[in-house]
Symmetry: C2
Subunit: 550 residues, 2 copies
């Protein structure tokens, strides 16, 4: 029995479909197969229902993945070794310590706990000698992460589920506590089934946050109790909505998969659609030419100078937040950052209501914005770099314009989530989409490849103290040019690349990672998610053969 | 009753989902709906079975499209007008002239006739007064094109199929006889069902050629009688193949939809995979480093200096051609064009077999290539600009490297099909795909938008005489980074843009076209093809509102 320590940047055996790569991993070279009666046992009294369900799903994946190893013979040359391999009878899950108070928290509860308090680490031991495998963690959330890893250890050969790499010893925990994916359901609508399928896929690569950009200027699909006119008049159609029941379904589904759902309702910009139901609260609603007022059509932003509007907005945000269980709520603010302040200014300057309120109150736009944000029921807002907006100390700032802004934000003392357009925007590089402009380019050209995000350094140019404020990062899918039709193929596997960056930590090597990412793509497809091809299958079956230097 | 002549560059009524736009079209403003008993009649004795089937499909689309008009109220404000509209009882198809010899040719037969002899024009009259509609053509192929147009005239409002634009008078015929789509099934494999769905979609926009790049260096999915070892050893898997029965199915399916299937088997480059079964015929098979021998891995090309290889290749191509019914067969040649000749040279110089044959025969590579091409059973090969290869006069040259090469090819006197990478490659702009190269860009950056192709001028810088040699053009999907997962969303609606360019002719205006293209996207989705979003739905429902100047 030989154990070799493998670090995340080293070349793994030609096929080993772990994604993200565990932070501590050692493997052997002994074949092992799942016994016909293989079972997953939960050695926890009265286990939470979502852990029981997760075990059931894990068993389903083991039975149904049927992923053949990605080498030319797809495993045929190992058939003899597989047939003669010892059988793994079971995997047993247990908590390393008795929980305080004796009651075990569910995955769902742990998934939405304060972000820096979550415990996602685990240890997993798969012996080569036919004795049972053991998964231990300090939380059910950690057990769920370990279960996910266990499900990636196996290949199929003619109905036998096997590994060639036993014994396997994993001690794993994430480099960063925030690993997200942002979906915009306002530019184009996505049915609940698409969101749930995406949540499943996210969980497979240990993403723990769905940053749900649920409404925007173009449509308001969220049905908010007490404010239902917003969706009645602002959704694309009566069926293109998320009811409170849908939201609960999504939030529950996500939490059971270790994922916190952070809703985002942008303010004060990106709010044109509110004018359909509440015209009194929106300045410059659908004003023309739109390009003078907004970065994309339609124009319109909250009349922050109006006390009635501030009260309306605070009440609406509070009601919306009540639909979710996350500790965070994003109120955006991306129209008021430094680079776009002129846009707001241009609108407000021309809005009589705003000018009247400003002169009567003696307030500035900045103080008005402070009023609004302090009323908002959130502990997380998007960045306001050069605007001296007073934010709560526990605010998380998402740096989206450019990775070059990270250092400046770090200087403010706020915690940071990397969301930079120049690395993590999945929509870039598909040309301009506004009409009447044949030569238009994507504003954030070029296309962001998985490799580009994978080699991102989250702490570049930061001091050690500043680096500690980096909570993680996320991929983002803005949907001006996307919809259900290309959701899977546009998102996957690129969002998985970012997931590994923030789980395993920076320093990954694309050459070593590519064969694993191919296998993750093929596994996604086996599970019903249409992940996109990275290369010709000829390359996928020959690790390294399509490297530039091969 | 008011008729207004509308040309293809003028702004149509805000919603009118014709694509490609007919070359002659006049519309009115009278509402009209299909009667409950609406029928399509074929006033032709013993009509061909494929015409009868096409009529059946057209009736299915009329019943099932259920496409609501793309305006904010989706047609609600027209409900009264629709309810009170006269009913169209029928559409009657007839041939304008008695066919020679009295027997009517099938769509399938006409679809594969010599390209410049095909008759695709038709006239379509939809009166506003409740009398029947009339479709006339000089061929069943023309009737099929007219049926396709008829199917695009209608919207749905609560179960009623209606138009607001009667009377409608169309006199339509294509600007160019070749309107194609190329699919590469070698880099990644596509099941037959994907190809048939794509053929359906192609027929909806009157594309008449599937240029099927069936095999390449990476895989050989085509099962060729007498040469079955090629696919047995060269396909990605035993199930990733096209059997003779599959090919017949595809060719028949396409022909019945007015589409000729032109197979392409590249020679002498892009043939590495042949070495799996016939190593003796391939020089530099999988030679390393691949970048010294080929533009992408794996390296390998036919040993043209060997008489045995020439005979093998000619026999194999002839057997392959026997599976198809097209008058054309493409043997590629894109590794021997000017810009890549050094690649061949580099390989052949190092290949002992080639050097021995060359010195014993006294032949040059060019004369050897002539030998090969004269043996090939084709009348169409890809371009060989600076290589003095003797091609048959009826060869069609596909200009793929750059649109800048068109004039030079036109000077050679060959007919031209526009396939330029800088306008029509659908795969560009997704980053580099070779491994170990994080900063790699797509070689044909940037992404080609629908607008970019739409405003292409097929006769730019050509004399009138040269312009006559332009047969048309096509979109192309090379599949290094594509597969079944993104086939629909990558291809559509961009391939439709090119289809209109070559049917309606150049000079189209993207501003006027965009609302129609949105409707074609939505209609595609109603018919099960996952066409990609061009804009937020907010824009799709408000023609013109997202123009840069709106």
């Amino acid at each position: 029995m030989k154990l070799s320590l493998i670090t995340f940047s080293a070349l793994l055996p030609s096929a080993f479909a772990l994604w993200p790569l565990p932070t501590g991993l050692s493997t052997g070279t002994t074949p092992l197969r799942l016994s016909k009666g293989f079972d997953i046992k939960i050695a926890i009294p009265n286990p939470p229902a979502d852990l029981v369900a997760a075990v059931s799903r894990a068993k389903g994946f083991l039975a149904n993945d049927k992923l053949q190893v990605l080498v030319v013979d797809r495993g045929a040359s190992s058939a003899g070794a597989i047939a003669n391999a010892k059988s793994l009878p079971s995997l047993t899950l247990s908590l390393a310590a008795t929980p305080k108070g004796g009651s075990v928290k569910s995955i769902s509860a742990e998934a939405v706990a304060p972000i820096e308090s979550r415990v996602e680490g685990y240890t997993l031991t798969v012996p080569a000698d036919g004795s049972g495998a053991v998964l231990k963690a300090n939380s059910t959330l950690g057990l769920f992460r370990g279960l996910t890893t266990f499900g990636q250890l196996w290949y199929d050969w003619e109905g036998t589920t096997y590994s060639l790499s036993a014994p396997i010893q994993i001690s794993d925990s994430p480099a960063y506590p925030y690993r997200g994916f942002m979906l915009d359901t306002a530019r184009n609508f996505f049915p609940v089934s698409d969101i749930k399928r995406t949540i499943d896929a996210m969980s497979w690569v240990k993403i723990n946050t769905l940053h749900w950009h649920v409404v925007d200027s173009q449509s308001f699909p969220l049905v908010i109790p007490g404010y239902t006119a917003l969706s009645q008049k602002g959704a694309y159609s009566a069926s293109s909505v998320y009811t409170p029941s849908d939201v609960k379904d999504i939030v529950t589904y996500a939490a059971a998969r270790g994922i916190d759902v952070i809703p985002e309702i942008d303010t004060p910009g990106h709010t044109s659609v509110i004018s359909k139901a509440f015209p009194e609260h929106i300045a410059c609603a659908e004003a023309k030419p739109w390009a003078s007022f907004a970065n994309e059509p339609p124009a319109g932003q909250l009349r922050l100078a109006s006390e009635a509007t501030v009260n309306f907005t605070a009440g609406m945000l509070k009601a919306a937040a009540g639909l979710f269980q996350s500790q965070f709520f994003s109120t955006g603010g991306d129209e008021i950052n430094a680079k776009r302040l002129f846009v707001c200014g241009s609108c407000y300057t021309q809005d009589n209501e705003t000018q009247a309120s400003l002169s009567s109150s003696g307030k500035t736009l900045t103080t008005l914005l402070c009023d609004l944000l302090e009323k908002a029921p959130s502990s997380g807002e998007e960045m306001v770099l050069d605007n001296p907006v007073k934010l709560a100390n526990d605010t998380i700032v998402m740096v989206w314009i450019s990775s070059a802004d990270v250092q400046a934000v770090a200087n403010t003392g706020f915690r940071i989530v990397h969301s930079a357009s120049d690395y993590f925007y999945l929509d870039c590089g598909h040309g301009g989409w506004v009409g009447d402009f044949p030569a238009g380019n994507s504003w954030c050209d070029p296309f962001k490849t998985w490799q580009h995000a994978f080699v991102f350094d989250p702490v570049a140019n930061l001091t050690a103290e500043q680096s500690e404020r980096v909570l993680g990062g996320q991929s983002l899918l803005w949907t001006e040019q996307s919809g259900p039709e290309n959701l899977d193929s546009t998102t996957w596997p690129r969002a998985a690349s970012t997931a590994e960056l923030f789980w395993t930590g920076p320093g990954g090597d694309v050459q070593a990672a590519l064969p694993r990412l191919h296998e993750e793509v093929y596994r996604f497809r086996q599970r019903g998610v249409a992940a996109n091809s990275l290369q010709p299958e000829w390359c996928a079956l020959r690790p390294g053969a399509c490297d530039l230097t091969a």
